[in-house]
Symmetry: D2
Subunit: 465 residues, 4 copies
């Protein structure tokens, strides 16, 4: 039996990049995608411009699979580029949805990459189709392009502005034309996007870790509502009309982004450690050791350990070679899929009262098995601490959750969840504790925790990218 192991986590967004002003823009776009690999593993693609033609290559799988040799990058000529990593959806590999998207319209060729989700594409799309538009993909990105093509505005920035006055949602976008690249962020700033510079070339990337790999200096965030255009004349700022309070996705700090990145003007690492600290304050525990579910919860676990004074230990080893594996029909797929990713360290756990810190719980399936595994390895007590509140509501802004029914927190008290998981105690970080950790000034979206939606989705809006 074939087994595709997946973590019990919200599915990641995508990773995007734009490059302007380096003669081998494709190499830098490639490296940025490499650094942003954690944001998407289904497909990867780059479009470059040499000032005259746009060149495109997309491939399935990891960046290293999509770009198997240097000749592929060398064929992507030009000093402008955008790139895209698409996240992995279960079971389906949709080559024709792979990004960046490249089309020809009135103003010449244009390519777009997209991280996020629109909430009113259904009605806009239907209207466009009614007007005679044809759609080749199911991607929202194509809707943006149709709106731009129909705009009477003279400039590209003007067309973007017009298109995004119609489409609503959570989005960070990069675009490339023959001679310009653009970085755009929705008015609420849901997804991260920032600007860097190196030797006169500009880079727009989802997270700063991509700038670090390239060796570029961080300049600033693309602001919510900003359309930043980069041309040979330098940077020029344009603004979307809609003004709205910030609603950054808190899960970027909790889980999605790399801890060595800075997003939303804050180090992820610092925010994540603070989440752990607040968790220790809210839900202290009488235990011998603190361990994490590696690697994403490591920093929060250290924060918990520091505040609680309980020793931090490595109690689970993560196998990084995981992907597809095979099991025997007699083996339990659930059991195996956890065991292939995590192995307990008996010497650490035996006879100990263990606090295990996890950043988020979706279905709870992995955590249930981990608990069994810890007990089997000799843990005397297992106390789970989660560095975010229970997830109770669907996201319309770019996260891929299971249905509400599958969410472990849905309709259950914390005690019921603890019982289901088989743990000695369970503590979720409070909404206040979480928001207090990630921001000085509020401005985060809490929809999935409390069901208050900063931007109302249209009826039947799809929940995922």
């Amino acid at each position: 039996m074939e087994l595709h192991s997946e973590l019990d986590k919200p599915k990641s967004n995508c990773g995007i990049v734009a490059v302007h002003g380096h003669q081998d823009a494709s190499i830098y776009a490639y490296q940025a995608l490499f650094a942003l690999q954690h944001r998407g593993q289904e497909s990867s693609g780059i479009v470059t411009s040499d000032g005259k033609d746009l060149h495109r290559h997309v491939g399935m799988g990891l960046v290293s699979q999509a770009f198997p040799d240097l000749s592929v990058l060398n064929a992507l000529k030009g000093h402008l580029a955008i790139g895209h990593n698409r996240y992995s959806t279960t079971g389906s590999t949709m080559m024709h949805n792979a990004q960046p998207f490249l089309v020809n319209f009135k103003d010449g060729p244009l390519a777009v990459s997209h991280n996020g989700n629109f909430v009113n594409t259904r009605s806009v799309r239907n209207q466009l189709i009614e007007d005679g538009a044809i759609f080749q993909t199911t991607s929202d990105t194509e809707v943006v392009l149709h709106l731009m093509a129909r705009s009477k505005n003279k400039s590209i920035a003007g067309k973007i502005k017009e298109a995004l006055s119609i489409l609503k949602g959570a989005y960070s976008l990069v675009m490339v034309t023959r001679d310009q690249v653009f970085g755009i962020r929705d008015p609420r700033g849901w997804r991260p996007l920032c600007l860097g510079e190196k030797d006169g070339a500009y880079f727009i990337v989802s997270e700063t870790c991509a700038l670090d790999l390239i060796g570029a200096e961080y300049i600033r965030e693309i602001e919510p509502g900003e359309i930043l255009a980069v041309s040979k004349d330098g940077l020029s700022e344009h603004w979307l009309e809609e003004k709205a309070p910030r609603a950054a996705c808190v899960f970027e700090h909790v889980y999605f982004s790399r801890p060595d990145s800075k997003i939303f003007n804050e180090n992820v690492d610092r925010a994540r450690r603070k989440l752990g600290k607040n968790l220790a304050l809210e839900h202290p525990c009488d235990a011998d050791i603190v361990i994490s579910v590696p690697d994403s919860s490591n920093t929060a676990a250290i924060g918990y350990a520091n505040v609680s004074g309980i020793k931090f230990e490595i109690g689970l080893i993560r196998n990084h070679y995981v992907g597809r594996t095979f099991i025997h029909p007699e083996q339990s797929a659930r059991d195996f899929s956890v065991r292939v990713k995590f192995n307990p360290v008996e010497g650490v756990l035996k006879g100990r009262r263990v606090v295990i810190v996890e950043d988020s719980v979706v279905r709870g399936t992995t955590l249930k098995h981990l608990t069994k595994m810890l007990r089997k390895a000799g843990a005397k007590e297992v106390h789970v601490r989660v560095s975010s509140p229970p997830i109770n509501f669907p996201c319309y802004y770019g996260m891929d959750f299971p249905t509400t029914e599958e969410l472990i927190a849905s309709g259950k008290t914390v005690e019921e969840i603890a019982k289901y998981l088989g743990v000695d105690s369970l503590g979720y970080l409070s909404l206040e504790g979480m928001v207090g950790a990630v921001s000085k000034d509020g401005g985060f979206c809490k929809a999935c925790f409390v069901g208050e939606y900063p931007l109302e989705p249209e009826l039947g809006a799809k929940k995922i990218l």
Copy 2:
């Protein structure tokens, strides 16, 4: 050094197929594409409909490479299908131009495959772009779809009619929607397309050899100007508005189609043998043996042998494993590329006066080398007979010739060509001899021979598909 061997022939058109009414339509579409492999080797694709959704798979290379295992075909569910083989253009493999083309528009999903060439896409495309259309490919097919999407006509057949009243050219098209397949032929009937039936299922294919492989019975041609719709209610015929005299591509009989096919209501084999017979009458020769440039000229050579009374022999062996090969820098690429395809049979040629029959000559490069090869193998005399007239003009209707300057016949007398080739004598079939062989009733396009164009191309019309 890598060497891609190509014959010195006009490049083939594409091969297309539509299936209606068999629960595993994809298998039959696959088999039809297999039989039509000679019409296109660059890419291959199938779109099916299960009544609700359309499913698409395209891949590069031969049918067997594009469909590497049965699971790919099984995933293409449905009882309706269309398929497409795309011919090989030198050096470029354009995955995003691979067909069938699948889009969503007002009436739902629609897929199209196309064999031929339009002559006014440039202006129509520009007008569409001006009106806000976006184009994702450089393929003419996309223009057809935009026109259909913008049509206010209620029925699909009506939309097709409207779109094709704007676009002019040489085309055989197949389309599939959720519940119908269509077969369409331009008003002049440039490219072949015919209808077959088996166990209640209908098949529309480029050549009858595809019906033979499937095991279907030939019913009739799709008529020039016909839009044949197949639905669960059976066949219904619609007609394009434009009426025009027939202008079938004579090269289908001369070279493109398989000799076991029937096209334009005539057996290719019979036409091809007649070409050879007429050639023998027009250009007799005092020689010991008749040989052909295998395999496409075999039948014409036999016709020549039968009328001339000179013995037919196999003087050249064709290697069918050819594709990409490697040579040493010291070796001549030209020489090798001919030698790897053809080897002379010394026992046949030595001391003989040889008539070699070739169906068509484009640049003359291959023939020049074959002549040298025959002489080296001991041929005492080499007389070339070509079963079609000299090619002097570009084609705008789906054939891919080199530039006029590269055509061997361009601006040269037959004597000059003979001298260039190094042959003892050279005879081309006359226009009358050719037309007399392929048709009882005329109606063939002679543009590439005499420069009279049945349909004026717009300025800058591209010459190839």
Copy 3:
């Protein structure tokens, strides 16, 4: 359902090559293997020597698949090389049996390629194993190497001589050491092997068509019983001790070799045409046309036509793209596998009395279906003429037949076979007619026709390579 189409023919031997004296020996070995592709399609490999080290690459499939890019050939450094094409056995792909075989022994590295079959390996192998030898493959070639390694003889040629005084059978071998290549043929000369030269470099190949592609001049056959050594000092001839009458495999002329090759000092084409002529003399027929089962029977059919005075026509079109295909469960695999390879030309066959010439019949399955196909296409009568006698006995010398029970001729009269095939008449060429065609001086093995074995196989000798 997946379908692997195979012709109803004896399975081919392998093709081998050795190169000495060209700085890029691997390119020439590659080209020779390309020309010898018809002798083996399962795997392909080359070993080179740069005077110090031996370099090896083997891969599955066709030459073009085993050597997918030039860098593979460039990595095979050296001015000496041997190469090997292995024939395709049904269903099994045995990478570790792929040749050439490369080992290290007392005298340094040594590689061997082999075409043929030994008849006493079982006992020799058992004896070697008893003495402590280990075997890594099931290939006979490894036995040769063990015997050479154990020889006390000082020279490589001496070791070869000693090893082949113990092993008996039908074999053409090529070997390469650091500074020599060898070409060896068994005392009876069962399989072809010849020598060519170009610019001071020597080439030893299975068939002359490989010399033609390389551009080398044919010098002579490697004689039966000869060990030809090529070193920087030129050619030196050595001889095996065993002397025996010639027993060349007549099937090389009938079917295996390419018609443009010269083997056993005779043009294959000439022999094959003579087979057809003798067939016409022995089995004349009152018919309208002669057709062949393309391509291997083309030459014999032309011979038949010339002598009989009946017109030669192309009645069956062979599809050269065949390999693996897929069929629907409702379709008959037998029917389809013939149809996918051959399609009748209706215009040629309709209303005609047809003589169809086939070079050999093993199980008769293909011929039975072809007959049905011809009748369906309108043939009034179908007369089969086979240019070799009925096959009745197993081969121990390198051909791969089915079991005796599966042979159509086994225990049946010609009338019974004709009835089974459903033909109007059937004629096999007589043994005398065949031998008279292929040789002036006799010396052919007739084991599979009459059961007289020139070299007695040991009990349980395997019948195939």
Copy 4:
């Protein structure tokens, strides 16, 4: 430019497994190899026995690449199996050296897998070749098989004993015959090997983490000098003649093994934490935070933090997607290859005095770049602590070091090394501190630290597997 990133570490040994008594032994062997992936990434292979035949599959790359689908495992029939992961050597992929090795000899088929290195193969091999043996690989394993084949001993265990009385070295071996599997460890017990059980089936694996993944119970180590045979009659123990003091490779605890494994009767995790603790006692530091070079030094760093009382932090993020990447010619390969693997966490490092714990230093290249990286991220001081002594001497027992000249410690004082690395202070764990951490009873090989070799290598013994 293509860049293959490698850590500056001793190259790992191989991973091996044997399975007896489960009807789908191949699946379990596969899973064990999956868990042992860290021990070798160049190639992976399995041989099974169904009681009659042995079946083999080997492939290049990771386990998931070598076994791309379940059908490959299903084809490996039988209830006995052995498997092997081979470690990655730079630049060369030697398919023919891939293990397990499968041969036929006197007693039937036999397959072997090997972890370690022999020290006298050169002379033994030469003697065997002198006696007429042929070698197909450069692998030591083949020597073992030749010696077994030549043994007059009646039983397999006896033959193993005899062969290993001639060959000396460091080895853990598994073997499979038609009806037995064997696990063998050299008299000094250099490499780990242990026994587990599940549902009556036995498993012999390099590390216990493989038992954990399979779900088997750990029973015991294969003892130094033991030949453990498993057949349908259960376990039987045999012993090599040579007796010698234990000389386990201390690097298995320091770096090679997974921290969740138990080897040499000790939890790796416990040993590794103790290394860090001893390091803190020997080399205390006045600093703000302790960080590790992830992931292998994590546990030692936590040990250091716990004893020193300095806070443990995550200061470097490790990118697990690394493999092959591409860089621009203007970029520094050295810099990039470190940056692509590690990114500093600025928020943690800025303004801090940092202790960085590394388990071992070979060339020092990575550490030098990490130091620069930490300083650039704002670290005020950088203090390096290494949880093993300086490496000064070559290993002949299975580790792959660079030449002595390339070793950073070679001929330099600790102060000189510190200066070269550019660090504020540097401390290596002492030999006593290390041995005290990993064992209660001594018995470790210290050759690479002090140059005392437990088993003298013959002149010219190769240093790597």
